[in-house]
């Protein structure tokens, strides 16, 4: 059955796949996750704000990001950001910023829209009385949010946030279209060079599956442990 296949190529390319490829993938995931959660939380607070302008701005942004394909956003940012950078520093030529930085900005901005909706649900799940209680103690809006509402919302939503991060981890493979060497991109390069498409793509699938599935199991365990008892 395995006649004509050569799985040796996997072994010899392991260092390249993991040291270059997986490092890129994991770094990008972590940056987009932390940036996305921070930006997403701000967006969520804006969406829930009584000021119409803020909530409309945030709502528009979130709906836009959620209505366009990720692939398009990756391309769009890759070609657009150099022009914005040039405009910002006043250069007359577009400034190439590299695949990694472009991908990091793209994924942070894109994921923020999804994290925003998760955090919005989390904030809304906190009983009104908790906010009253914070205000009644003389806390400002900022302190009430930072000390009382967000820690509880974050904890309630942690499993969902992590699940979204697992999806993000898989989605980062799309940076292959801007020729970045993430785990998938590295494997694709080897596959094409040595013409070992079946071997490499099977291996890539197994690795993504093992990592994503183990993480989901971890999330499930975490879910039972962190719930706030009321």
């Amino acid at each position: 059955m395995f006649e004509g296949y050569d799985f040796e190529v996997i072994r010899t390319s392991l260092p390249y796949l993991f040291r270059d490829g997986m490092t890129f993938t994991v770094t990008l995931t972590l940056i987009a996750m932390s940036g996305g959660i921070v930006f997403g939380t701000l967006l969520a607070l804006m969406r829930l704000s009584p000021f119409r302008i803020l909530s409309m701005l945030a709502g528009g942004y979130v709906n836009l990001m959620r209505s366009v394909p990720l692939l398009l956003v990756i391309f769009w940012f890759f070609f657009l950001v150099p022009y914005i950078a040039a405009w910002l520093v006043g250069a007359d030529r577009p400034i190439p910023i590299g695949a990694f930085l472009s991908a990091a900005i793209t994924f942070t901005m894109f994921e923020a829209a999804y994290y925003c909706e998760i955090m919005r649900a989390g904030i809304q799940s906190i009983p009104r009385g908790q906010v009253w209680s914070g205000y009644a103690l003389g806390l400002t809006y900022r302190h009430t949010m930072v000390q009382v509402v967000l820690p509880q919302a974050f904890r309630n939503m942690l499993p969902v946030l992590l699940t979204q991060t697992i999806i993000l981890f898989q989605d980062t493979s799309l940076v292959y279209v801007i020729s970045a060497t993430d785990f998938f991109g590295a494997a694709a390069k080897i596959a094409n060079r040595d013409y070992r498409l079946v071997e490499m793509y099977t291996f890539v699938a197994v690795v993504y599956f093992v990592i994503s599935y183990s993480l989901s199991m971890l999330v499930r365990r975490l879910q039972d442990r962190i719930a706030i008892v009321r």
Partner: protein, 242 residues
């Protein structure tokens, strides 16, 4: 200390408070009672601006609550409030609950806030529970922590919004005892409650509300002796039947 003058409030087109006026003097204990939906909880939440009102004026210690220029966090820091559902912060220990407001709103040091908080926790008899989380305490204990938390801010006045309504019957007294003690020490208190025993024992005045109006505002003896309004008579006869 607290002055409420001609306050009206609407939810959309529905009027929940109709021209309410009353005063709570320094050191006075005023009980607000009435059937549910009569606006008593809404009225008390207007006093520290947790609920906005559209007409009239409320002042606390001379500061206008409805004035947009008023620094609300600063005002609220000096008005203690105890809620029906306790509203301790479930992700913090009892000690952290006691210090948060003191540190963030009053600018006290962590140490000073802790000393003050633990002293009050001791006063409500719960010092052994200082490192527990609210969920590990009974309802009565949580409410006593909530009272200690409010007192730790050195409030000018205390507002109680049905503090015993969510408690099991056997826990009501431990909370009322703390409140009676507080009243005897001369704390200015405005208490929304159905506990008529408490009202009789410590209230100087009783306010009876119905349909968003203050129907009766009388000295405690007068209120229980001969309520003037028919609605208050009915209400009393229903809840004082045993």
């Amino acid at each position: 200390m607290i002055s409420i003058r001609n306050v009206s409030k609407w939810y959309g087109s529905f009027q929940v408070l109709i021209d309410c006026s009353t005063e709570v003097a320094k050191g006075e204990v005023v009980v607000v009672c009435g059937p549910s939906g009569s606006g008593k909880s809404t009225l008390i939440k207007c006093v520290n601006a947790l609920e906005p009102f559209q007409k009239g004026e409320i002042t606390v210690g001379g500061v206008s609550v409805g004035d947009p220029k008023t620094n609300l966090p600063k005002l609220r820091a000096r008005v203690g409030m105890v809620f029906q559902h306790f509203e301790l912060f479930p992700h913090m220990t009892v000690t952290q609950n006691l210090t948060l407001g003191q540190v963030k709103a009053l600018g006290r040091s962590q140490e000073e806030a802790r000393d003050k908080g633990l002293k009050l926790l001791d006063r409500v008899g719960l010092i052994d529970h200082k490192d527990k989380y609210p969920a590990q305490l009974s309802g009565g204990q949580q409410q006593r922590v909530a009272i200690a938390r409010a007192l730790s801010m050195d409030p000018l006045a205390m507002l109680f919004d049905e503090p015993t309504s969510a408690l099991d019957p056997e826990m009501i007294n431990e909370v009322l005892d703390v409140m009676v003690q507080l009243a005897k020490e001369g704390m200015t208190m405005m208490v929304v409650t159905h506990e008529m025993g408490f009202a009789r024992k410590v209230a100087h005045r009783v306010i009876f509300m119905d349909g968003g109006r203050i129907v009766e505002d009388a000295k405690t003896d007068a209120f229980f002796g001969t309520p003037r309004s028919e609605r208050a008579q009915q209400f009393l006869s229903k809840i004082l039947h045993h």
